[in-house]
């Protein structure tokens, strides 16, 4: 809100410079974001930010009241005119049919307006606050709104049918034309001001076209009322209509301001519009009372919340400056009466905050909590995440942060999105899915970097994926580590040539993460995902728990993202990896007896899996094999078509004794024979 300091000076004496006042207000919680200097007429505007708990600050008088409290100054009241007619307007009546929506409604009839020119000071002050002048009567209602915070509405009295004001809920299918000309269909909960046969205003939000004040208006019906904040808010939100009035009503206006605002407006109308006659005020309903009218405050509550001792005399003084009615109840205990404009004060702690604000937050000392230390247990999953970040970034991968909200681009609606969580009010670009996988997010990262000229893009992200397997249960979130590799494995140097990444590089990262976590007994199985090329995906498991999967992204997606080289993508479930991960590892001694190495170079059909052969070799080792390692794989040359040469290094070692060469030779030969029989292996002679 914009506040004119000239206007404030009507109510409180501001000692120059006003920027100092601005700073004092800011440090008391009424934040002045900006000070703007105006010329012609010269003025300083405060751009202030008002928190939703302080509607009493939404006016110049309200801000002046705060300045008076903060600076300990006296506050002048707005000039009002109590001289109104003695007789109510003949024939006019007000009827409240929805007392919950409108507990208190007042009106007055102003007849025979003779002047229509708005005085310059009103035009200028409104303009400074961002409101343009419309006509004298409307300008005065706006002026009063900005001055004392009470929204008023003026109707052309001759356009009100039946001299009747009815405050009621809207009827089924009722329509209404707003001041701005737009027609809206009313909702049953909308609160209306109506005459004898139609709606004339959307209560507290906006007036109607049919009864608005024009240049021809000579007789005015002026409304000043209290509307229920929740109801005004609902109507304002339902119809997406917001006005200076609705903004104040939905935050709750001061019930005492209803009469004050009307009286202030009448004073201005009397003076500048020079009407022939102003009637007596007609009223319906009662002013709503505060739910909590007094609060009992103990001095020790102030100390236990703030941690500082403030003198009882000072506490009473501060509360008094804020316009609260302080009575000493007993030693160090006060009964504090709450004025109608402070519904936010309902509990002792609310008063403590008021005391702290005016006492000054800067005057409260800084201390450190005194208490015995607590045991802090670090979450095993967070430890695991930190280790993985360290490992992957050390291995040359860059961590990304991409949005959890995605579009369905690249995903299969029947597979990937079947159990995905959907957003009803997405913001943009159809980002209405909570992602069930990070593959499309990382493809976009790769695409952007390729376009920026990168040729080696190894990235990873640790974040949640989301799913909803049961519509009656809360959605699931799973922390995963996703890895995507693209392009060159390493940058070419003067010493080494570059090569492209392969699925096996990705698998190496995956295996290393699982093994580093302390996960033994890994096994692999083929799997399939909609976004992988057929037959390139595999899963790493420990026992029956799948921990990770990986594969080569399908050609279709590569084309969709405009990528020329393959992308390899993996997801590792960190939730699942925490369980088999070992927190504290036990030392294992290595064998003291020498090892014997034997190589086994065989030619088998392409369909034979190297993992099966390694398992077979290990199984036939009679417990003497410590390690089987595949150290070479090639095709072509002397290897027949459709076959491959695999070279294994078998390490024989016993924990108990030194192995004899003959013994090892026998086992090794037995293995070789079995491979020949079972897998039609051929031995390559060199």
């Amino acid at each position: 809100m914009k506040v004119s300091t000239n206007w404030l000076k009507d109510f409180v004496e501001l000692a120059p410079p006003v920027t100092r006042t601005a700073e004092r207000l800011t440090l008391a919680g009424l934040e002045v974001k900006k000070c703007e200097t105006l010329t012609h007429p010269s003025d300083t505007l405060f751009e202030i930010e008002i928190t939703s708990n302080r509607p009493d600050w939404l006016s110049h008088w309200g801000v002046a009241r705060e300045i008076a409290a903060v600076e300990n100054l006296s506050l002048k009241n707005p000039v009002i005119d109590s001289e109104v007619g003695r007789t109510p307007p003949p024939g006019w009546k007000i009827q409240i049919k929805d007392a919950a929506g409108c507990p208190y409604y007042t009106g007055v009839l102003i007849e025979g307006i003779t002047e229509t020119k708005t005085p310059d000071f009103i035009v200028n002050r409104l303009l400074a606050c961002g409101i343009r002048s419309i006509n004298l009567i409307v300008d005065i209602t706006n002026y009063v709104l900005l001055e004392v915070g009470q929204p008023l509405h003026a109707f052309d009295a001759d356009l009100i049918r039946g001299k009747e004001i009815v405050v009621r809920k809207s009827k089924q299918g009722e329509k209404f034309i707003l001041i701005n000309g737009a027609e809206i269909e009313l909702k049953p909960e909308d609160l209306l001001i109506a005459d004898s046969d139609r709606a004339v205003a959307l209560a507290g939000v906006m007036g109607g076209k049919d009864s608005e004040i024009s240049d021809k208006t000579r007789n005015v019906f002026l409304e000043s009322a209290f509307f229920n904040p929740g109801r005004v808010r609902k109507t304002s939100r339902t119809h997406q209509l917001s006005s200076d009035s609705s903004y104040r009503f939905e935050r709750r206006v001061d019930p005492e301001g209803v009469d004050l605002g009307r009286s202030r407006a009448l004073a201005l109308i009397q003076k500048y519009a020079k009407p022939r006659h102003i009637s007596a005020v007609i009223k319906a309903g009662e002013k709503p009372q505060l739910a909590v009218k007094t609060i009992q405050l103990r001095g020790d509550e102030v100390k236990s919340v703030l941690g500082v001792e403030i003198k009882p005399s000072q506490i009473a003084l501060i509360l008094g400056r804020l316009g609260l009615h302080v009575k000493q109840h007993s030693e160090g205990v006060w009964t504090v009466g709450i004025p109608s404009f402070r519904p936010d004060l309902t509990r002792p702690v609310d008063l403590v905050e008021e005391i702290a604000r005016i006492y000054g937050y800067e005057n409260i000392p800084e201390t450190l909590p005194v208490r015995e230390p607590l045991t802090v247990v670090e979450s095993p999953r967070l430890i695991l995440e930190r280790k993985i970040r360290q490992f992957l970034s050390g291995a040359g991968l860059s961590e990304t942060v991409t949005f959890s909200l995605i579009s369905e681009d690249g995903l299969d609606a029947s597979k990937d999105l079947k159990e995905a969580v959907q957003i009803v009010n997405p913001l943009q670009h159809g980002l209405h899915w909570m992602r069930p996988t990070m593959v499309t997010s990382l493809l976009t990262v790769i695409q952007k970097n390729v376009n920026a000229g990168a040729d080696s893009i190894p990235v990873f992200e640790i974040a949640n994926i989301y799913s909803m397997t049961d519509a009656h249960k809360h959605p699931m979130e799973e922390r995963i580590c996703a890895i995507a590799l693209y392009g060159k494995k390493a940058v070419q140097s003067w010493l080494d040539a570059a090569r492209s990444v392969t699925l096996y590089d990705l698998k190496g990262y995956g295996e290393a993460i699982l093994k580093n976590a302390g996960c033994a007994d890994l096994c692999v199985a083929k799997t399939q995902k909609s976004y992988f090329a057929e037959g390139t995906a595999e899963e790493l498991r420990t026992w029956q728990t799948p921990l990770a999967f990986m594969g080569q992204v399908s050609q279709e997606l590569l084309e969709k993202w405009g990528l020329k080289e393959p992308v390899y993508y993996a997801e590792i479930s960190l939730e699942k990896l925490v369980a088999p991960a070992q927190k504290i590892r036990t030392f294992k001694d290595w064998p003291k007896y020498p090892a014997i190495e034997r190589d086994l170079s065989i030619v088998v059909k392409d369909s034979v899996k190297s993992g099966d052969l390694m398992g077979e070799i290990r199984g036939l080792g009679q417990g003497l094999i410590r390690e089987v390692e595949l150290f070479d794989l090639f095709r072509g040359k002397r290897v027949p078509e459709g076959c491959k040469n695999l070279a294994f290094r078998v390490v024989y070692q016993s924990l108990e004794r030194t192995l004899v060469s003959d013994e090892v030779q026998k086992v090794h030969e037995k293995i070789a024979q079995t491979l020949v029989q079972k897998y039609q292996a051929l031995f390559q002679t060199s």
């Binding site: 941690g307 800084e366 909590p369 670090e378 942060v401 959890s404 959907q422 080494d496």
Partner: protein, 324 residues
């Protein structure tokens, strides 16, 4: 031919007597056995030798070659260790760098902030991003139809859940699960339907903090948060505490740090509102607490001079690798 060989051999013996350093030994080797070495040149002439003499000349050449090689080797063995550079060492050649990866700057910032609080005894905890009305609003004293809710526009799921608009949800979850005393911080992603521009994003990161026991005060909040900001921004940093309004704290405060000529809001905090204690089933008369929340992006942008929040989510390697 044989004469030539014995001449070279004689010369070599003389040269060898003058070899007294590894460098000279290497020069000696090159002079006789290098590509254009004296003995190497003689080997090249072998093709022109008469066939009947070839075998004898070849044997003689090999004998001298072996003698030269063993002499150099012998010198090497005797010489102090350190080796002879096989080729001329160029100290200006660039090193072969290991691959350079990076942890995301937001994550680094979270780790750094968590580290500061962890030293003060705060435990890092997490909560779900898809939340309920209760944890995100009701329990935090934010009524459904109230203007205080305007500050928290929210994404909703088709099944009536919402994406948390602040990490304060985690304090509710932890308080409902555990008894005081508590000292926790909760980093994580939060969501608000804001249009993306240089300073807004519909997804960003917050860190929520909470301390609850039977005696903690507003002055403790000031002490802890000032200590934190000094650790993060340096001990010279000026800060100010400014009253503010949050539905879930009372009194509430915003903390600004001096930045250039002005002040920048960096933290929101306050003493836990008694209504929040009521919601989680704590006795508001005996329990005291303070809570705070900060935006990770904002802090990272300030500290690293980043002027566009979108850099964090675009993941350009030129950005990511600057902070490796």
């Amino acid at each position: 031919m044989k004469d030539q060989i014995s001449r070279v051999e004689k010369e070599a013996r003389e040269d060898l007597s003058r070899v007294d350093s590894m460098e000279k030994a290497e020069l000696f080797r090159v002079a006789y056995l290098g590509k254009k070495g004296k003995l190497t040149e003689l080997f090249k002439l072998l093709g022109g030798v008469a066939p009947d003499e070839k075998k004898a000349v070849g044997a003689e050449l090999n004998r001298v070659k072996q003698w030269l090689e063993s002499s150099v080797e012998e010198f090497r063995q005797k010489a102090p260790k350190g080796g002879v550079p096989a080729e001329i060492f160029d100290e200006t050649l660039p090193g072969i760098r290991p691959p350079q990866g990076s942890v995301h700057l937001l994550q680094q910032t979270i780790q750094e902030i968590s580290g500061v609080f962890s030293r003060m005894g705060f435990e890092t905890v997490e909560g779900p991003e898809i939340e309920t009305e209760f944890h995100n609003f009701t329990a935090l004293n934010i009524p459904l139809d109230h203007p205080s809710r305007d500050a928290f526009d929210t994404f909703y799921t088709t099944h009536g859940q919402l994406l948390r608009s602040q990490t304060s949800t985690v304090q509710i979850r932890v308080m409902k699960e555990r008894k005081p005393p508590l000292k926790i911080i909760a980093p994580g992603r939060v969501y608000r339907p804001d249009t993306v521009d240089a300073s807004h994003s519909f997804m960003f990161h917050q860190i929520e903090g909470l301390m609850v026991d039977d005696r903690v005060t507003f002055s403790d909040l000031k002490g802890v948060l000032h200590l934190f900001l000094r650790e993060l921004f340096g001990s010279q940093t000026k800060i100010r505490f400014r009253p503010h309004f949050f539905p879930f704290t009372e009194p509430s405060v915003e903390i600004d740090i001096q930045w250039g000529k002005g002040w920048l809001e960096i933290l929101g905090a306050g003493s836990v509102d008694p209504n929040v204690f009521d919601e989680v089933g704590y006795d508001k008369n005996t329990v005291k607490g303070f809570a705070f929340g900060l935006g990770v992006e904002r802090i990272a942008m300030l500290r690293h001079g980043i002027n566009d929040i979108r850099h964090f989510y675009e993941n350009d390697l030129r950005f990511l690798r600057q902070f490796s």
